[in-house]
């Protein structure tokens, strides 16, 4: 089971007026945390909803935990914990009652664990949902999703609305989940630093498509800010191949390369660049460059 996939999307397409979600190929292995990044409206929530069959895709295939998401939908959903972006819990109910209610749907529900989670995240089990803060509602949703120890956790913007201390506890909880190598997490976030901290894989969605998806360490290894001098246009023409984006004036150029596999410095110099300087980039910088499509 070690190398089986937690989630796999192939040729998935969903057309809306003015927006198309198109995921050719996306997967990550069990025992890992996948971080989904992207600007507002890029398709993060649509993609997550599609895997939960809350958005019906036009074509393509989706497997969760190695099983077809439609043919074995009920079986799969017993093993999945999903927290949507919008809280849609009964406003009049309190955490204690909601736990009882939700527990009926999951044979693996663990009441002790549920109450321990409420305690850990400081959720008052007697307070009605409508009286909880935005962060409080999110924490309650997380407890409800975690209490049946799902093998796959799907979290849509779970950390927005949480203060830094609770965000830290929450990230620790995700790492606790994957202490078991057969369990996996996918979470989307605007907060790049949260993903940079704990994600093993990072996918970046832009305009309904996956613009970048790799092991986090590979992304950080490969992307570099580059500055150099190129005296003739022929040299620039050759160098372009190694630059995702660049700009420049007076023979001085700044760019970004996603190609720092071998010795980029030597490669660029041999192609006619002078004064080549490389500096590492944070995930946030890489994401901004890719979103903007310019340096």
């Amino acid at each position: 089971m070690m190398n089986s996939t937690a989630m796999e999307l192939n040729g998935v397409c969903k057309k809306y007026p003015g927006f198309t979600l198109e995921i050719d190929n996306f997967s990550f292995s069990q025992g890992a945390i996948m971080g989904l990044l992207g600007p507002n409206g890029a398709g993060k929530s649509t993609m997550i909803k599609a895997t939960m069959n809350l958005v019906r895709i036009d074509r393509g295939s989706i497997t969760l935990l190695g099983r077809d998401y439609l043919r074995e939908e009920i079986e799969i959903k017993k093993q999945v914990g999903y927290v949507p972006e919008e809280c849609n819990l009964y406003e009049e109910a309190a955490a204690g009652w909601l736990g009882q209610f939700v527990s009926k749907y999951y044979k693996d529900w663990d009441h002790c664990f549920y109450h321990a989670l409420l305690e850990k995240f400081g959720v008052d089990r007697n307070k009605k949902v409508k009286k909880l803060s935005k962060g409080g509602k999110m924490k309650l949703s997380l407890c409800l999703a975690l209490a049946h120890r799902p093998r796959l956790l799907l979290l849509d913007e779970p950390t927005s609305g949480l203060d830094p201390v609770v965000r830290h506890d929450f990230l620790k909880e995700l790492l606790e989940v994957i202490q078991d190598e057969s369990r996996s997490v996918l979470f989307s976030s605007h907060i790049v630093s949260d993903i940079e901290k704990v994600a093993d894989y990072v996918a970046f969605i832009k305009g309904g498509q996956i613009a970048l998806c790799d092991e986090k360490e590979n992304i950080l290894d490969r992307w570099r800010r580059v500055s150099f001098r190129a005296k003739d246009s022929g040299a620039l023409e050759r160098l372009k191949e190694y630059l995702a984006y660049y700009k420049g004036e007076d023979q001085n150029y700044q760019g970004v390369s996603g190609d720092c596999g071998g010795d980029l410095q030597k490669t660029l110099t041999s192609l006619g660049a002078e004064n080549v300087q490389l500096s590492p980039m944070s995930l946030e910088e890489i994401m901004i460059v890719i979103s903007r499509g310019e340096v």
Binding site: I33, K172, L175, Q179, E181, D200, K216, Q277
Partner: protein, 127 residues
Amino acid sequence: MLIFLSPQNPIPFYQQIVEQIRNKICSGEMEPHEALPSIRQLAKELTTSVITTKRAYEELEREGLIYTRAGKGSFVSPVDKAARRKAALNALEVRLRGILEEAIASGIEPDEVKDVFLYVLEELRRQ
């Protein structure tokens, strides 16, 4: 095992882990055959990703400082004094390379580098 990761440090997290564990092994703070935490435990302790701790352990394994038994975990290799010294020297070389590359890029001449290097070394020796 106490390890500190600093986000302000420009050295990547996995390398920070490698350096600190290497120091613990080379200084004898960690004994031969002592068990290391699992990559998942360590990731949780440090609130970092599993892939980061995994990479750190792979690097330490490549350096011969730790060994891994399938299903049992990772342990400190029984390295002798000479091997420890070699590992420490290798680590020094890697770090110096980074610093010297920067120095050369900012236009400092090799002789000047040498002067600064010897000056700092002499100062440290006097302390």
